[in-house]
């Protein structure tokens, strides 16, 4: 188990349990009562910690190394997954994956950023930072789904679109812009869920949907707290403050009306009970697709445009 800095009290309690267990196996003493007490202390402590998370702690949680990524959800929520590769122009982007799958017997197209689970895989997946090919592959898959009238689900988890020379040569800006433009008018239901990090245009590039949702302990905004700190505070050390000021949590985003729904995570975060998280998300997707299927495509598109057109705050003088 890996503990984040604010989970230190939990780490201590787990250490105590282990010590007791060691002791009991060596000395044949019954410690089950003490262990039971400690376990209940763990539950209370966990609940306390998790009901008072700061924005920065939520950012840390969204990046927890044990947090489930897109492929995990695909494996748990769908059957018959067939990954589809390539943008048909340049290459296959490993940071953006997608393919055909069945959700409760219903065909869907699933697309999402993928982070690696160890050092080697993290490099292969480019830390979940897609190049233009990734966004173009995503769009290609969405168009297939539209053609065959199947819903689209996107899972967002990226620290941003990749800032590199080749990415610029091949038009990172154009690729994201094109996705925004095309996703607005997709004739099938589109559901987008932020499952980890929702950083800026790189997230939005697969984030235009009839329902845009966030898992509870994720963040979604225009810039990472670190970069925001470095630009506005001219120092990397104000990331906590930046996270606070950016109002980037699921709770904030939902109160602003910028996301449609927040999906609760198990106490202790998605990584403490990944299966439970996948079950919750699956149920949510089935229910939401059912609702969206009842709306005719033209109305759905109209509502999508209307929703995004309303976003913003300003004063209007007489």
């Amino acid at each position: 188990m890996q503990f984040l800095d604010f989970e230190k009290p939990l780490e201590d309690l787990y250490a105590q349990i282990n010590k007791l267990k060691d002791m009991s196996s060596k000395n044949q003493v019954d410690v089950s009562n003490s262990i039971r007490e400690l376990e209940s202390a763990i539950e209370t402590t966990r609940t306390n910690i998790y009901s008072n998370l700061t924005p920065w702690q939520k950012v840390q949680l969204s990046r927890h190394p044990e947090r489930p990524y897109t492929l995990y959800y695909i494996e748990k929520m769908f059957t018959g997954f067939n990954e589809l590769y390539g943008d048909r122009q340049v290459k296959d982007d490993k940071a953006m994956i997608g393919g055909m799958a069945m959700l409760n017997g219903m065909p869907v197209m699933i697309i999402g950023q993928q982070k690696g689970i160890n050092t080697k895989m993290r490099q292969m997946r480019n830390f979940g930072m897609a190049n233009p090919e990734g966004y173009r592959k995503a769009l290609r898959l969405m168009k297939i789904a539209e053609k065959f009238n199947h819903p689209i689900i996107t899972l967002i988890d990226t620290p941003g679109a990749y800032p590199g020379i080749e990415a610029e040569e091949r038009g990172q800006g154009e690729a994201i812009a094109r996705n925004l433009f095309e996703m607005v008018n997709l004739r099938v239901p589109v559901i987008c869920v932020v499952i980890g990090e929702g950083a800026s245009g790189g997230a939005l590039g697969i984030g235009i949907g009839d329902r845009v949702c966030m898992l509870e302990n994720t963040w979604y905004t225009v810039i990472s707290p670190e970069s925001c700190s470095s630009i506005l505070w001219r120092s990397w050390s104000f990331k906590e403050k930046a996270a606070e000021q950016l109002k980037l949590t699921s709770e904030n985003m939902s109160s602003f009306g910028l996301v449609d729904e927040v999906i609760p995570e198990p106490v202790g975060g998605a990584h403490s009970n990944p299966e439970g998280m996948a079950t919750t998300l699956k149920a949510f997707l089935i229910k939401t697709i059912g609702e969206l299927n009842k709306i005719d495509p033209d109305t759905r598109i109209e509502q999508r445009i209307e929703k995004f057109s309303k976003m913003g705050f300003y004063e209007e003088a007489e």
Binding site: Q172, A177, F313
Partner: protein, 283 residues
């Protein structure tokens, strides 16, 4: 005996202020690129382009409108829409104070000005960004003015143009600024459905969320020479890849070569080119 054969006879600066041969402010302009000097009038008459090296000085909406609209006649639209610090964003300075300072020093309400007028008798709605207003950053007002500009163009069946000049999204509006990318792209699909032309002119600089939304979505994407255009800023890329960037990287020619611009146009030729293109679109 002193070895110096010349000596200051009197101490201090003796020329009185009245006698000084100093030009008053604002008559001369020194090109930041080639250091050549010209009079401000010469520069103005040459569309703020250096007469010697063709450097395109950064200008704002009021100058573009004078350059493009016939007889400098146009109606400024949606001037009643003003920014608001809804999040109470505070970094080294409150956003609210930044807005007030920017409004005072620029005389503008925000980084976007929309005007309707004619270019060689062809009606057009132009939304032009002001880089002098918080780096031309895209916040809610920028998005809303584009949205309303598009509604206006659709209602009056007019072509639409955006002149971009921006560092990207306005961080102090957080996710609201991000969503302006979605909002403006959504509105542009309505313009496209109405089969009205959309011309995107990118000027120095056009980066970040502006590039990744409306700037790249023109029926034609055009740019001024040597403008910096990109998604990620050069500094960020350099820090990420830890290598020097090639010469000319992310400049207009680079984008043209890689297929993201239809053409590059000198500002002195902009009005003529635009009227040609508009004629082709609407005829």
């Amino acid at each position: 005996m002193s070895s110096t054969w010349f000596r200051r006879m009197k101490k201090g600066i003796l020329t009185s202020t009245d006698e000084k041969l100093e030009a008053p402010d604002g008559i001369w302009h020194k090109c930041p690129e080639c250091k050549a000097t010209s009079t401000v009038k010469e520069l103005h008459d040459n569309a703020y382009v250096c007469l010697k090296c063709n450097y395109h000085n950064r200008i704002n909406a009021v100058e573009y409108f004078e350059l493009l609209f016939d007889n400098n006649e146009y109606e400024a639209l949606f001037e009643n829409i003003k920014p608001r610090d809804m999040l109470g964003f505070l970094d080294l300075k409150p956003y609210d104070a930044r807005l007030k300072d920017a409004q005072r020093t620029t005389g503008l309400t925000d980084a976007m000005t929309v005007g309707v007028g004619t270019i060689n008798n062809q009606e057009i709605v132009i939304a032009c960004m002001n880089f002098n207003f918080i780096g031309g950053s895209m916040g809610s007002v920028v998005g809303e003015k584009i949205a309303r500009g598009i509604d206006f163009a659709i209602l009056h069946k007019m072509p639409f143009m955006i002149i971009s000049k921006s560092g990207g999204a306005r961080m102090m509006e957080s996710a609201f600024s991000l969503m302006q990318m979605a909002k403006t792209s959504a509105k542009l699909t309505q313009l496209a459905k109405a089969r009205l032309p959309y011309i995107s002119l990118m000027t120095d600089p056009t980066t970040g969320g502006v590039t990744a939304s409306y700037a790249m979505l023109g029926d034609i994407n055009i740019a001024e020479p040597k403008a910096l255009i990109g998604f990620a800023g050069p500094r960020v890329i350099k820090e990420t890849i830890k290598k020097d960037l090639p010469a000319g990287f992310q400049r207009s020619d680079f984008l043209l070569e890689h297929g993201f611009l239809d053409f590059i146009v000198d500002r002195t030729n902009l009005k003529y080119k635009l009227s040609q293109v508009l004629e082709w679109f609407v005829k």
